[in-house]
Amino acid sequence: MANTEVSFVRTETLPPMAPPIGEQGIVKWLRENLFATPANGALTLVALYVIYVILSGSMPWIFNGVWNTSSLTECREVLDGTRGACFSVLTERWHQLIYGFKYPPDAYWRPNLTFVLMLVAIAPVLFFDLPRKMLIFTAIFPFLAYWLIWGGTIMTPIIALLGVVAGGFVYTRFVASNFAIGFFGAILAALVVWIIGGFMTPDTANENAMLQAVPSRDMGGYMLNLMLGVVCVSLSIPLGIALALGRQSDMPLIKWICVVFIEFVRGVPLITLLFVASVMLAYMFPPGTTTDLFLRVVIMITMFSAAYIAEVIRGGLAALPKGQYEAADSLGLDYPQAMRLIILPQALKISIPGIVNVAVGLFKDTTLVSVISMFDILGMIRGPILGGAAEWNGVYWELFLFACIIFFVVCYGISQYSQWLERRLATDHR
């Protein structure tokens, strides 16, 4: 035995070697993600080519854009045969795209202020970590917003607010003994305040009001889309909850009213309802009484989205295990308590994606009002700017791109919020 030769045993570990060049850094990432298989690689190349084609077509067009001419002809002169966008239409007509063409320009600060205040008012509703006292402002906001946007006498929103306060007071006073007395008493009290207030306000109040009165007909542009979207979504969620609960009710009359309403509205296209609002209602009302077109459209869109939201929430209600209902009963809770404390919080949580889906769809559907000759942003583009202005006839891409972008910003924001909300409310352990 040759003991002298001790078989070699390494006493220290080798220093780690750098991974092979193909297994590290960007090469690895590329290989794993983009070129994993030949087919994958081919798809990657095709996709890159498509992206290149799109960007090489659109980027020069955008960066070569002209921003400060006063007509399309001038634009073409400036471009002098080269390809480029004519964004001048946006700089010249941006106020029409945002506010419509009849909102008085010296009052543009009013919608702007309302928009900022809306963000403040909506914050405590969306983010419930914020102090609850902010909800007081949220409650006042609708009246304030009405006054700011429509202007006119401040008496109208104040009387409306007083009526609601009176109704709320009567409701809290009587609801403990009897729900029906509280509910109908509240409606009655509010009506009494409104009617008395209506008599007390002089007819000429609008003429020397602090803010110049702006009729609904003069609203337009993206402002109109936002107004319709915000008003209709916030009205249709409570209405949708009521309809969903009504549909599950044991009382046949209520149940059937809700079922018929939901099924009827869901069976009719929104555009039909809008045509009814703009055209047919004028025949049905007695001559001389004209309800504001904005109000008619709000009612129709709200009805429409309430029916959809009701079905979404019904899905949420149906998804709850029966045990939850029985648990509420066994605790001795009555119906409103059971709903408020146990059923609805869970059902609404399940329904959030669906409700957001309806809300986003509804917001985009507000552009349909352009077909009943209301000048929302699309109506402005299709009517006065493209159809009517000799200097801008033919500027399509720029205008519709602009509309796309501002709709995308809002809709993407809404969907991001809903994802945050779902994560925030996730209490199960999936």
Partner: protein, 338 residues
């Protein structure tokens, strides 16, 4: 059965609406504003400008009536209507008159119960094609795809024309002129057809107008004019004679520039009657003596309105053509002011 009940209810509602609106003149005076239906936007005829002010050929008609009745050319509430909503807006009383390049046809006049008070623009339907198509007559358009606005008389004329010439076409329905323009330029259709005035206006805005040609055939008569509801003849008379006043003023040489002078020193009895210095024409209409003078003061006589909004000096560049005075070989012929 149910349907007839609903229709019956609608008829009753419609009748009562008509009955209540019997005194449109009084309504307008009480309101202090004229509700005038216009298009949502058509170059030269009616559109709000960058400042939100309505301008155009049809708009001036509304302003002239407002000036005649209310003494204020700005006392007009312009109600934008689409091809589909215009007639209901008028029938339901939402607007007092409609000045929206609307073609005067038998069924609109008789069946829809409207009163066309006259013609303020004689138009006709034409075809526009790209030059490279190599078409020189509309009869060569067999098998062509045609962009056509829905809900208009042009749609029906198109069908008539192709059927009577025994050739086929494929319609591409579109909603507005702006859309049609884009579809046509993008090559979605070979031919764009609408009123010749519209074609000229559209072609003028193209990047290369020379690449497109308007075919010589005019396939229809499109007398465009303002209209009011049936059953209120006093109101109809006011609108009719306001239009006639503009036309007559051109014929008599009364312009916005020389009106004041003419009023003071004219020897022509018809001018004197028109401007209210002689006779009681205004009184017969239920207005004061200066009504026509005020209507003329808005933008002048017919020729001035035409030149200012759609004439050869404007981007639309329409020639007078059929819309010249009868003395110049056109069709404009106002009954006398007597």
């Amino acid at each position: 059965m149910k349907k007839s009940v609903i229709l019956g209810a609608l008829t009753v509602a419609g009748l009562s609406a008509g009955a209540a609106a019997a005194g449109t003149l009084d309504d307008v005076k009480a309101r202090g504003k004229l509700n005038c239906g216009v298009t949502t936007g058509l170059v030269g005829f009616a559109a709000p400008d960058a400042n939100g002010e309505w301008k155009g050929f049809d708009v001036t008609m509304c302003r002239a009536v407002a000036a005649a009745v209310l003494g204020d050319a700005t006392a007009v509430e312009f109600v934008p209507t689409t091809g589909k909503t215009r007639f209901t807006a008028l029938a339901s009383g939402e607007i007092d008159m409609l000045a929206r390049n609307t073609t005067w046809t038998f069924s609109r006049d008789v069946d829809l119960k409207f009163e066309f008070v006259g013609v303020n623009y004689y138009d006709g339907q034409g075809f526009m094609v790209p030059k490279e198509l190599g078409v020189s007559s509309a009869k060569d358009l067999d098998g062509a795809t045609v962009c056509i606005q829905t809900g208009t008389t042009t749609e029906l004329n198109l069908a008539d024309f192709f059927r009577s010439n025994n050739i086929s076409y494929e319609p591409v329905p579109i909603e507005t002129n702006a859309e049609a323009q884009q579809q046509y330029l993008a090559g979605a259709c070979d031919v764009y057809t609408t009123d010749a005035s519209g074609l000229a206006a559209t072609r003028a805005t193209f990047e290369n107008p020379g690449d497109h040609t308007v075919l010589p055939e005019i396939v229809s008569k499109e007398p465009l004019g303002p209209l009011v509801r049936h059953g209120d003849n006093e109101w109809g008379d006011i609108v009719r004679w306001t239009l006639n006043a503009l036309v007559t003023a051109e014929e008599l040489g009364v312009t916005s520039a020389n009106m004041a002078e003419m009023k003071a020193s004219t020897n022509n009895p018809e001018i004197a009657r028109l401007l209210g210095t002689e006779g009681t024409l205004g009184e017969m209409l239920g207005l004061d003596a200066d009504w026509a003078a005020r209507a003329l003061a808005v933008e002048g006589n017919y020729a001035e309105v035409f030149e200012k909004n759609i004439g050869e000096a404007t981007p639309i560049g329409l020639a007078r053509g059929l819309n010249a005075q009868w003395t110049d070989g056109g069709l404009l012929y106002s009954p006398p002011f007597r």
